[in-house]
Amino acid sequence: MKVTLFIPCYIDLFYPQVGQCIVRILEELGHGVVCPESPACCGQPAFNTGYWDETRTVAVKVMERLREAEVVVIPSGSCGAMIKVFYPELFAGTPHEALARELAPRCHEFSAFLVNKLGVTDLGARFPHKVTFHDGCHGLRELDNKQPPRALMAKVRDLELVEMSEAETCCGFGGTFAAKFPMISTAMGEVKCASALETGAEYIVSCDSSCLMHLQGLIDRQRKPIKTLHLAEILVQR
C-alpha cells in the first residue's frame, strides 16, 4: 500500500523522531511512504480561534495535496480529527465540501491505521518499562480511538501498562487555549501529571505529541520523575 504521511507542524519542528519512527514502521511492514512537503499544518489553530476563512486557505491546500492519496496516515488524533471530522463542517456549503467528505474516510490516525486498517498489533517491539497511557481527547472522543493504542501496547514485550484514574481527562493543552488561559491549562496539566505519577509509571505514552509537549513542559519545569513518549517511539524499541 502506498501511504501518504501527513506530519503535523509540531512533530516536524519539535519531535521529528516520531515521524521517523512511523516511516520506519510502515516501511518495515512493506508499505511505500510519501510525505508532501507542504502545507505544514492542518489549520487547527486558526479554526479553534474562530477564523474559519483563514483556516480554509490552509485546509484547501491540504486537501489538494492529499486528493490522490490512497490512504493518509496522521500521527495525531487532534490533527486527524481536524481533517476527518471538522473539514466537512468547515467546507459545508462550499465547492470543496464533496472533497472534504470524500477525503475523511481515507485518513487515519496512526495507531488506528495499524490496528483497524492493517490489522497489525504485534510489531515485535520490546520495552521493559512501566508506562501509563494518556488518551488525547480528539482521538478518544472524535475518532473513537480508545482501543487501538492499547491493542498495540498489549503486544509490546515486557511493557507494563498501568491505567491512571484520569486517563480520559484532558491534559489541558487545547492548542491556543494553553496560551489564552495558561492558568487553567496549567492546573489541568497538574491534575493529569499527578494522576500519572500515582501509577508509579516511568513514562506517559500517548498518540498525541501536542499533549505531550504540554505535559513534558510542565514535568521539566516542576522536575517530576516521569517522562513522555509517543507510542510510535515505543513500537520501534527492540
Binding site: I7, C9, I11, D12, L13, F14, P16, G19, Q20, C35, E37, S38, P39, A40, C41, G43, P45, A46, F47, N48, T49, G50, Y51, W52, E54, T55, T57, V58, F86, E89, C137, H138, L140, R141, S165, E168, T169, C170, G172, F173, G174, G175, F177, A179, K180, F181, P182, M183, I184, T186, A187, M188, G189, V191, M213, Q216, G217, L218, D220, R221
Partner: protein
Amino acid sequence: MSTAATQFKRDARRLTADLRHRHIIHSALSQYEVTRDEKKALFQDWQGARQLAAGIKWEAVNHLDRYVDQFVRGLEARGTRVHWARTGQQARDIVLGILKSRQARMVVKSKAMTTEEIHLNEAMEGAGYEVVESDLGEFIVQLRGEAPYHIVFPAMHLTRGEIRETFQRKLGGAPSDNPEALTMVARRVLRRKYIEADAGITGANFAIAETGMISITENEGNARLAAALPKTMITLLGLEKVLPRLEDLALFLPMLATVGAAQLISGYNTMYGGPRQPGEADGPEEFHVILLDHQRTAYLADAEQRDALHCIRCGACLNVCPIYRNVGGHTYGTTYSGPIGAVITPNLRNLQDWKHLSYASSLCGACSEACPVQIPLHHHLLRNRRNSTRQKPCWWQRTAFRGYALVANSCRGWGLVTRLGRFGQKFHGLILGSRLDPAYAWTKTRDLPPIAAQTFKEWWRRRGKTRA
C-alpha cells in the same frame, strides 16, 4: 476585553492556584462519577436512552409552538393563570404584580435556575418582600449572599465546617459539623417559613404538553411544601421545558436523577396541574405559570445551535468538565456555568461580552459525551467562536492567522520560519519566563521544547536526495 472577561480571568487565576478549592471540587465530583456510573449501568442501553431522549427533545423543540399551546390550554382548563414574558423585566413585573395583588409579604422559593437567570430575588427584595430559599443548598448560599455554585449542587464548594460557621453567624446556632444536625437547624427555620409564606415560587423540570402539567424533581420535599402551603403558587419556566407526552417522563425522570445527582430516581417527583380544585383538601388558591422567552425564541431561530434548547439543566456537563473543576462555578460570573453556560450565555446575553466563556475550553468533548440529550456542546463552542470573529474580528489575530496560512502553505516560508525560530531560540534563555518573553503565556509555567537540529521535513528531503 469586556468586564466579564477580566473578572473571569482574574477569578480563574485565583482559583486555579487555590489547591484546597481544587481538592474539594475534584474529590466531590470524582465520587459523583463513580456513583453515576453504577446507576448508568442499570440502564439496559444507556446510549440508546440518550438517543431516545435527544429525539424526544428534538420533537418538542422543533414543534414548540404546538406543544406549548397544548400545555397552556391544559393548564388553563383547570383554572391556572398563564402569563407570557418576553424579557426578564416582564417576568419580574408579572411576579411583582401577582404578589401585590395578593397582598403578600413573604415568599418561599424552591430551587429554580430560571429565577436566578432573571435575578428575581433581587427584584422581590428590592420591592420589600422577604424571600426565603428552601432548597438546603440554596438556603445556605442565600445566607452567605452568594450565587449558586452549581446548577444542581448550589453549595458544593462549602465544607461542613463552613456551613456550620454560616449557620452560627446567621441563625445564631449550630451544634456540630454533623450533616443531620445541620439539616435540622435549617429545617427548624424553614418549617416556620412555609407556614408564614403568602406565596411559593418554583421552577419546573419538565412541562407536559399532553396533560398540561409541570413536573418538579427534588430530594428534600421543599418544593412540595412551597407549592402546597402558601395560598399562591407561582411557577417560572423557560419555554423549552416542554415534553410532548406524560410517558416521556418514564425516560426523563430516571435519566435526570442518574446524571444529575447519581441517583436511580430522585426523592420526590411531583406533577402540578392547577390550583386547588373543588372538593380537593389542599393546594394553592391561585396557580400562576409564567412562560419565559428571554432569548429562547432567538435560539430557536438558529437551526445550527437550536439543540442547545434540549438542555434539561442536569449539570452533568459541569461535573465532568476539567475547566469547571479547576475554576469553579462562581468564576463564570453568570447564572449558567460550565459547558452549557459557555455555550448559551454568549447567545442569551451578548456575544462580544461573553465570548471568553466559549474560548475558555480545551474542546475536550467530555461535556458532549456526558450530555444525556446529546447536545454537541464543544462543537457549539467552536461555532460561537466563529460567530464572534465574524461579527467582530480581532485585527492582530486575523493578520497573524493570515500570515500563518501563507507560511504554512509554502515550503520556503516554512523553512525560513524554522531557521528563524532556531536562531531566535539561541537568545530565548535570556528572557525565558520573563515578561519580555513572547512565549510568556507558555513559558511562565512550562518549558518549551527546542526546535530540532534537523526537522522532520529536513530529514525527509535529505533522505530523498541520498536515496536518489
